[in-house]
Subunit: 98 residues, 5 copies
């Protein structure tokens, strides 16, 4: 899994029927660099499974595991938000969330 | 999933039989950079499942999930377009689609 | 899937028994850059399923989908050539094949 | 699998129910460069399955294999620590662990 | 699959029980650049299934396919060596193995 910040959302009315009703969030992965979380890599569209909102720091999973949460069984998605992050500790220090 | 723009199409008459009749679109992933969607990463060949056309902004999924749409069950593909994007919002702003 | 050019072949006589008889081709992925297909990323060893040869432009798939073609069921491979490309069109122009 | 150093931990109280009780460690992959292990790539959140702690050099696996350890069956995770590294030898030399 | 050179080995005594008895090799992927095989990308820990040794040029596979060789069924690994490379030909020339 990776850490990410929810930066927005995506609306697609013409879509695969299995995706109906899914909340599609736009997220930016963040990684550790010298005890600071910095944006890194490509922004991703992930299905929400935990009630996440824009601006929150989240944990997301990819691949088949994205279809193991309660609302994505059999749905053609490859990324899902599985947690809202309370805190991240790096080498004994609580780092600031993005 | 990632956002992409459909930039073209691919024709392959000699192919794995399971791919017969599949519409193969050539897509360029786009990512967020300062509230602008910019091209990033490699252009990909994806199967269409939603009637997408060249020039449209789409949502695509990869890996096993690409075989969970109506026309790809058991087909040797690893990328499928699963939605046509209406709008993308980043931090409260509707960003321009590519 | 990605586009690639078949650049060569690999011979391995000491191998996993399931790989016996597989034609192992060495391929270089190509991506679109300003309506030109250019080499990008790492050269890959892929199993051929369509009778591809050196110098041809092909379509290949990765991950579990590589084991959905007729000759790879249950075989430990993660990349397979699934089509020989006739033409690639980008924004209304037929681009030159590598 | 890749080598990594456990650099911290992540707490998420609002999460997918299947993740309850999982120890989420924050790890930094390390790779070989001239017989020295150096940090490379993105920091990852992985589930611990072997009692690893901050500062230890570990082995982790990704994708579906992350759900083959004793405590992750059916859990939406894509990375798991599967070993604590005793030693790494490169071309006949024991290299220093990170 | 990718080509790689076996550069060393990894010892982990505290590990997931399914990994007991597995030979963990440390490998460096190699790619083609102008008919020369050059190191590229991250060094990986792979399970051996063919009796490979340090210094040998091998073929490895990733993801679920890594668990389709004789000794890895159900084992939490995502990379396996599946062949020892005899020769690599690029555009009609046998290239030097790393």
């Amino acid at each position: 899994m990776f850490l990410a910040k929810v930066i927005g959302s995506v609306v697609a009315s013409q879509k695969s029927p299995e995706l109906q009703g899914m909340k599609l969030l736009f997220i930016q992965p963040y990684v550790n660099k010298d005890k600071t979380l910095v944006p890194a890599g490509s922004s991703i569209v992930a299905v929400d499974s935990v009630g996440a909102g824009v601006g929150e720091c989240v944990l997301f999973t990819q691949g088949n595991s994205a279809r193991l949460v309660h609302n994505t069984k059999g749905v053609p998605v490859d990324a899902a938000i599985v947690g809202i992050v309370d805190s991240v500790e790096v080498e004994g220090t609580i780092v600031e969330k993005p």
